[in-house]
């Protein structure tokens, strides 16, 4: 099998780079082609406007409430890309259409948090904690990984950027990677001394992040030695998000034990002049997701990528051709195991009495319904510790059996 051959080749390189083989790598090697399942989480910070991302073009009210910013119906100039006769993708997401057609992309409509907060920062904290209404000490994705302990890869959970997001904070190892090239100790004389310094320091917080860092540095050093060209002609946009997804792809393909990955993209808070800004942001966003899927190729069979944003935006446009803070939103689920080409969730409607507080798209699907299914069926973990106090209902069947 092609993937197995690739795995052995890159593992051999990784081994050569490190010297002695760490236990997680031997364990991974022993598993052979039975690769770990990987969950990739994408967070759109700033409350993306789901109603203009997945356009409900069958709703007359959608056009009445958004006289200047509604996306035209399919077939019209700059019109939505029809998916099922009711919903259509924003035209800037055109590169996602083939993924829908091939059944890799599913959409969950009117998803979100049951918590009513319209504060970006509270809502992000709650969603990342996996506990609506409450900010926890650690994040749901960290809890979704098997318990920490020997044998886990230091790169089992990775976040792109200069900060470790709340989603990934917690007792399991998780590292923030702000560029693979920068992920090194540039002073070779200092590296080993600092490693032992951080291993023995009484500063417990810095000790744990130091330990993770120096282990990860060695692996990434060996990955950096091999130049990377995205497969299948995939072209990532040059923004931070595109670069981040490319690095996630590179780390996954290097078979260094990645189980969870996180990337975020900001700039969705379009209170005014939304249409051009949203287009400009969605284009590289969609192209990045599409490039990732293309680059991963067959490996998408082991990967599920899920997107979320802290809440949606008002159903009506505001006074400045923008939208204010709302409630329900759209989530996308992408990957080989996904039963895609389908819009999931119950559409609540846009009549005044159907809207949340008469202004926002209602939430008919708790975001945890979606995530719980991915945690249990894709990662094979129990959901109770991941979403404490939450009873998930009947699964959607988002994933193939």
């Amino acid at each position: 099998m092609l993937t197995r051959r690739y795995f052995l080749r890159s593992s051999a390189i990784a081994l050569a780079g490190i010297g002695t083989a760490p236990s997680w790598l031997l364990r991974a090697a022993a598993q052979g082609s039975n690769k770990p399942k990987i969950l990739v989480v994408v967070f759109q910070r700033g409350a993306a406007d789901g109603l203009n991302i997945m356009v409900p073009f069958f709703e007359k009210l959608y056009y009445a409430m958004r006289p200047t910013i509604a996306m035209p119906e399919p077939g019209k100039d700059n019109g939505a890309i029809d998916l099922d006769g009711r919903f259509g993708l924003h035209p800037s997401l055109q590169q996602l259409k083939p993924l829908w057609d091939s059944g890799q992309l599913a959409i969950v409509e009117a998803a979100g948090s049951p918590d009513p907060s319209r504060s970006h920062f509270d809502a992000q904290d709650y969603m990342e904690s996996g506990t609506p209404g409450r900010t926890g000490a650690d994040g749901w994705l960290n809890r979704a990984l098997p318990g920490a302990g020997s044998g886990a890869s230091p790169l089992r959970a990775i976040a792109m950027g200069t900060q470790l997001p709340r989603t990934l904070r917690g007792s399991r190892e998780a590292v923030a990677v702000n560029g693979l090239e920068q992920f090194q100790v540039r002073n070779p004389n200092a590296a080993s001394i600092l490693e032992s310094m951080y291993a023995t320091t009484a500063d417990t917080k810095l000790m744990s992040s130091g330990k993770e860092t120096f282990e990860a540095v060695k692996i990434i050093e060996s990955i950096n030695r091999i130049p990377y060209t995205p497969a299948n002609g995939a072209q990532y946009p040059g923004n931070d998000f595109g670069r981040g997804l490319q690095q996630i792809a590179r780390l996954i393909k290097a078979d260094v034990g990645v189980e969870a990955a996180f990337a975020d993209i900001g700039g969705w808070d379009h209170h005014s002049n939304e249409a051009p800004q949203l287009s400009n942001l969605l284009q590289p966003y969609g192209n990045s997701l599409a490039a990732f899927a293309r680059d991963m190729g067959d490996r998408m069979e082991d990967i599920v990528l899920v997107t979320m944003s802290e809440f949606g935006r008002t159903a009506r446009e505001d006074g400045n051709a923008g939208t204010d803070h709302g409630h329900g939103n759209v989530m996308m689920v992408l990957g080989g195991p996904v039963r895609g080409g389908k819009v999931y969730g119950r559409w609540p409607g846009l009549e005044p009495e159907q809207l949340y507080e008469k202004r926002d798209l209602a939430v008919t699907t708790d975001f945890r319904d979606v995530l719980a299914e991915l945690v249990s069926r894709h990662l094979g973990q129990k959901t109770e510790p991941v979403f404490p106090g939450y009873k998930s209902g009947e699964p959607f069947g988002l994933l193939k059996t």
Binding site: H120, Q163, Q182, S192, I193, M197, S209
Partner: protein
């Protein structure tokens, strides 16, 4: 649901209370030794001690030194700083002058393609047919134009305008596009000749990579026109070691960037050199509290005045005055969209067919959530809307030219509003917003929220509630006198306690500046330093979200941040940060303990010292390696 939420929050409170008790009983009532006190106040009230500073504070007495910092007008400013700031002209310009001088792109850099002008010169009907019409309509419209005009219009036509048109028109369009590209290329070349047409190979080398003297000699040999042409071709990049030339290059290539670039330089120079350190720490704190993002359009030009006129004058003054100054400042009006928020459309006195702006909630919400009450401060969605309505009409007079606050009565919502239970009667104007500022700045939630945030910056990530309460009481008693609130905090047992000692993790800005100060480095240029801080995750004036950067340490304890710090320490100690001269010869032949003590102002932790001593046995312990190791250590990341 509601009951469950309540139960959860009670549980969370109990957990918090438990954690707090554990802290409070042990440490926040345990006073620091006199030796530690001087180091502690320097770590908290400054951007890090310079060599010799601890001695000075001890000599002056900790209490007296704090008192001086609270009255910066009594501290003589560092002449080195004054000399550096003198060169930064934009810092002193009024807003209209900044707009006038730096607001427009440099002449000659924008060449309007004639094709675009031709397309725009068509009638509305023609344009609409070309953009939205059927193939038939588009073809007929094109056919009706005279050939010269048609060629130009075709050159500007976007792909969807050409879709489905016959082959000959498509070809004509492709040809016209190419011809225009070549024409523009020629024009650009004339206005901006490439470097190899202006200079010899040797001159290019000197300009790009020559010594400071070579560069100066070269540029002084040009006449003004040539000098400008060369500058335009080179851009500011080669002049990292020649700030005056870089400034010149920026003016001809990117004048708008110069304004924000000087503001960053101002911030770093003051942080590094000012004797009025507490004032600088506070300006940083409040700029972050009232965050404005330099990447949002005009704001990169407005920020200079925002910091100078709306923040700096009030950091020891009354909170209400600062709040009002930020509410009226174009930087904030633009950033949180209030400048275009007007009475809701259904209340508009204008006929429906006249399109005009309506209500925007952005500022109303963040004003309460982030600037005053805090997210749990007790406001509702109805309050958000009422506050937004109260501020309708608070706008900017001429964004591009004057950028001044203006109240526009025509955009104001004149109906009655209820804000947090206070009635704002109908029929008023600007007074609505002024009343809201008054209500919010006197609200008990604001006193608590501001006090807690200050205590987080100066005392601990989880400050003792008793301290926050006392600070909030001062805030309320003194009508929000920030100097008095600071005094309550600095005089508290908790501030000078073991509970606070070394518990704060330095932010990227604090880490970088404290390292520069600890080495007594001579900084001639701050561009590279600003870049380093950005790489560590805290680009100056570059936070997109209105929250500002985190006030607590969790955000900065991760791999990327740690590696960034280690690599910065390596570059700094190795003299590899352009514009920053370090002299570590004082560490020649010194042992690890003396180097560490010199940089930390106290003995290093046992783990740090042991690792260094063991590690350098087989290596040459150069001053640069020892400095790198100490500045990369956990000890140096704390303050």
């Amino acid at each position: 649901m509601k009951r469950l939420k309540y139960a959860l929050s009670v549980a969370a409170l109990l957990v918090l209370a438990g954690a707090f008790l554990a802290n409070a009983t042990g440490r926040f009532d345990q006073k620091l030794s006199v030796d530690k006190q001087a180091i502690h106040v320097l770590n908290r009230l400054t951007f890090g001690p310079r060599p010799g500073a601890v001695e000075q504070v001890r000599r002056a007495g900790v209490g007296k030194w704090i008192d001086q910092q609270l009255h910066p007008e009594k501290i003589a400013e560092n002449p080195v700083l004054e000399a550096k700031l003198k060169a930064l002209e934009t810092l002193r310009l009024p807003m209209w002058k900044i707009m006038d001088k730096y607001g427009a792109p440099p002449p000659g850099t924008i060449i309007r393609p004639p094709s675009q002008l031709a397309l725009n010169s068509l009638s509305q009907q023609q344009q609409s047919r070309l953009r939205n019409g059927s193939v038939e309509e588009r073809r007929n419209t094109l056919a009706s134009l005279d050939p010269d005009k048609r060629r130009l219009v075709l050159a500007a036509a976007p792909p969807q305008m050409l879709e489905g048109l016959p082959e000959d028109l498509q070809q004509e369009a492709a040809k016209a596009r190419q011809a225009e590209q070549e024409e523009l290329q020629k024009e650009r070349r004339k206005q901006m000749p490439p470097l190899n047409e202006l200079l010899t190979q040797e001159q290019i080398r000197a300009a790009r990579t020559g010594t400071v003297e070579e560069k100066l000699a070269l540029f002084n040999s040009f006449d003004p026109q040539k000098r400008e042409q060369v500058m335009r071709a080179l851009g500011p990049q080669p002049f990292s070691d020649l700030p005056e030339l870089r400034r010149e290059a920026m003016i001809v290539t990117q004048p708008q960037q110069l304004v924000n670039s000087e503001l960053m330089e101002n911030k770093l120079c003051r942080a590094i050199y000012s004797n009025r350190q507490l004032e600088e720490v506070l300006v940083d704190f409040w700029m972050n509290h009232f965050n404005v993002f330099n990447g949002k359009g005009q704001d990169r030009l407005y920020l200079t005045s925002f910091e100078r006129d709306a923040i700096r004058p009030y950091v020891f003054g009354h909170f209400k005055d600062m709040l009002l100054a930020t509410a009226r400042h174009p930087a904030m009006l633009f950033y949180l969209d209030n400048w275009q928020s007007q009475a809701p459309r259904e209340d508009s006195p204008f006929p429906a067919e006249v399109r005009r702006p309506g209500l925007n909630e952005n500022y109303g919400r963040e004003l309460m959530e982030l600037h005053t009450l805090g997210v749990d401060g007790g406001y509702t969605q109805q309050d958000v809307i009422a506050v937004a309505r109260a501020f309708t009409g608070w706008t900017i007079y001429d964004l591009q030219k004057y950028a001044e606050f203006q109240f526009n009565p025509a955009g104001h919502d004149r109906k009655e509003k209820i804000v947090l239970g206070h009635k704002l009667p109908a029929g008023r104007g600007e007074q609505d917003g002024l009343d809201v500022i008054d209500i919010l700045s006197h609200h008990p939630s604001t006193a608590r929220f501001i006090s807690k945030k200050l205590a987080q910056r100066f005392v601990a990530d989880d400050p003792p509630q008793a301290l926050v309460d006392r600070m909030a009481a001062t805030f309320t008693r003194t009508d929000g006198d920030l100097g008095a609130v600071l005094q309550t905090m600095f005089n508290s047992t908790e501030f000078l306690s073991e509970g606070a000692w070394q518990t704060k993790l330095k932010s990227p800005l604090e880490m970088v500046v404290s390292a520069v100060r600890a080495l007594n480095a001579d900084v001639t240029d701050t561009v590279a330093l600003a870049q380093r801080i950005a790489d560590l995750g805290e680009p100056l004036y570059g936070k997109l979200e209105p929250t500002g950067y985190p006030n607590t340490g969790d955000a900065w304890t991760n791999s990327a941040s740690l590696l960034g710090r280690i690599n910065f320490a390596t570059a700094l100690a190795g003299g590899q940060v352009p514009g920053v001269m370090v002299d570590i010869s004082r560490f020649n032949f010194k042992d690890p303990t003396s180097v560490a003590t010199g940089l930390l102002n106290m003995a290093p932790s046992p783990a740090t010292l042991t690792a260094i001593e063991k590690g350098i046995r087989e290596k040459e312990a150069t001053p640069s390696l020892l400095t790198t190791l100490v500045m990369s250590s956990p000890d140096f990341q704390r303050r």
